[in-house]
Assembly symmetry: C2
Homo-oligomer: 339 residues x 2
């Protein structure tokens, strides 16, 4: 069986870590069965590099370390439309203002050409799930997106495999790292500004953290979960959304004095009309499982009709945790080819 | 595709709940795709009932409710050897004294006849994993056992699907419900005897709870995990094992006063010579994720080389949670047939 030929759209932190893992694959015995080659990398502002014979991971990383731009000029949409590849790996940054574009167009283009798509970008799953999944089904290819929620924790994989036969009645969780780090730091007495600066210094918060603090990132993730696991047809704008607002260290200290913690909680539940989603700041007793999420950790509780309640939690994720989401999806594709 | 024909070995609490779910399947929309028929039920002391044309779930349950014995006399080994079925569902009780027998012989017989096996009995996985898995591979059938650890939580499924490509470096968890219920009740001030009586009244502890309190059940589960997920070749006797001993409410209260809880913790880790396992009573700070397991709940933390740390926790399991483990394995078989 020939190697899966990958086209990487984006070469940021997660893309580079993914390519580093490929470069260092001898150190990971479980990757022996993973047979992939890189036939192209495109970026937003740093050029592109393509080679039908395959780019070596170390050459890609060396080039990135030593120069500002890759040698070619080719935008992702054009690459998705014209190059020969088996899988588009969509690693471009989420655009909330763009309502998932231009990533949605990249994904649509690849699926229309009967190429598999692995998206670490949440936009296509949150704003165009049904359209893209229908297109993938019609064309006999897969649209996978494990890295979009809780990094590489096997959330969507559980829906396909480990929880099969269950109906998911409700999902609840702590899904946004930046807000959780900021809340934990403010509990230690930092001001909002200091806590944001700390989260930025840790590499968790972006330069502009407003999408995280206002609950947009959480709403996008919750939409992705509801669409993929509860057969919902939601857009992030339909999520009832409460951000951190003016919450400060005083409120958190007062809650702590009551034995409570304040967390940004995501919930999706079934209603008579489909699925409703909410992101809100909740004061929870310290014994509550959701109150226990520290720092950049995250957790999700599934309520199902047969198995009952299952919690999946991720502690201290790093870039490898997210890059693993792409690897998990590659294994899912490999399994299909063996099946 | 024809229905999978099941031979149930055992008709205790889990077996009956499984058959109730089949009877009530219209209430579970996710089970629509599950196509099974029951061609036989055998029990240790309550007779057997077989019908190549299929037994109806309601008839089986009605018979059980109204009479002491099924109509036929046929032991499980003979049934496994002579009946025509596709899957042996091994639901007989674990025998620690018998080192997994007679369930191991049932499983071996079925696999040798090229029939799939789903075992909710931990014995075959703990005492004969490699032999049985090799036999299954040679004969082109599956040996599945999701219900053996943490009820139906998708632990082994994660090893096959959601964590693929990772090397599991270490496993740690709280896996024995009886000891955890007894510890939680003693923390509330009950004596050991009262706590055991409470656990028995809740239907969690057996009439003789010694295998649970001495850490044998935990050691058997840890062996199953190490063998199936870490490629170990362990037997439960090789697990370093510390039971509850004379631990009483005073020690638990003293730990609580220090902000700690005492838990029965299972750990398996890689060594230079393979995998080593340990069950021990650990005093943990209340903030520790393992300290948070209440009552009959359980949890497992995976340490992996790429994804990092992942926790799976089960809250308030009931008989459906365990029965789901069998259903999950049936879906795994169905997937193979579609593949």
């Amino acid at each position: 069986m020939a190697a899966l030929r990958l086209l990487l759209a984006g070469f940021g932190n997660v893309g580079r870590r993914f390519v580093e893992i490929l470069r260092d694959r001898a150190a990971y015995p479980g990757l022996e069965a993973l047979d992939v080659s890189l036939v192209g990398v495109t970026t937003g502002r740093h050029g592109a590099w393509t080679d039908p014979a395959g780019l070596t991971p170390s050459a890609l990383l060396d080039w990135h370390h030593t120069r500002d731009r890759f040698p070619a000029t080719l935008d992702t949409l054009e690459a998705a439309r014209t190059l020969d590849y088996d899988v588009l790996v969509e690693l471009s940054p989420l655009s909330i203002a763009g309502r998932g574009e231009p990533a949605i167009s990249h994904v649509r283009e690849a699926l229309a050409r009967r190429r598999h798509v692995i998206s670490a970008n949440k936009g296509p799953v949150a704003w165009a799930y049904r359209e893209l999944m229908d297109l993938a089904h019609r064309n006999g290819v897969r649209f996978l997106h494990e890295a979009t929620v809780m990094d590489g924790a096997p959330i969507f994989n559980l829906g396909r495999h480990g929880l099969r036969g269950n109906r998911i009645l409700r999902l609840e969780g702590i899904l946004n790292s930046t807000s959780n780090v900021v809340l934990c730091e403010m509990e230690r007495g930092l001001s909002l500004e200091e806590a944001i600066a700390k989260a930025q210094a840790l590499g968790i918060a972006e330069a502009d953290p407003s999408a995280d603090l206002e609950g947009w990132d959480a709403a996008v993730k919750l939409t992705a979960l509801a669409n993929a696991l509860m057969d919902a047809d939601l857009k992030p704008e339909q999520i009832e959304r409460q951000g951190m607002g003016t919450l400060g260290p005083e409120e958190l200290a007062a809650a702590r004095a009551r034995g409570h913690r304040i967390k940004m909680v995501c919930e999706a539940s079934r209603t008579d009309h489909g699925v409703a989603g909410r992101v809100s700041m909740c004061e929870l007793p310290e014994s509550h499982p959701f109150a226990r999420t520290e720092g950049a950790g995250s957790m999700l509780r599934f309520h199902t009709d047969i198995l009952g309640k299952l919690v999946v939690a991720e502690d201290e994720p790093d870039l490898s945790t997210t890059a693993y989401g792409v690897i998990a999806d590659l294994f899912e594709l490999t399994q299909d080819r063996q099946g």
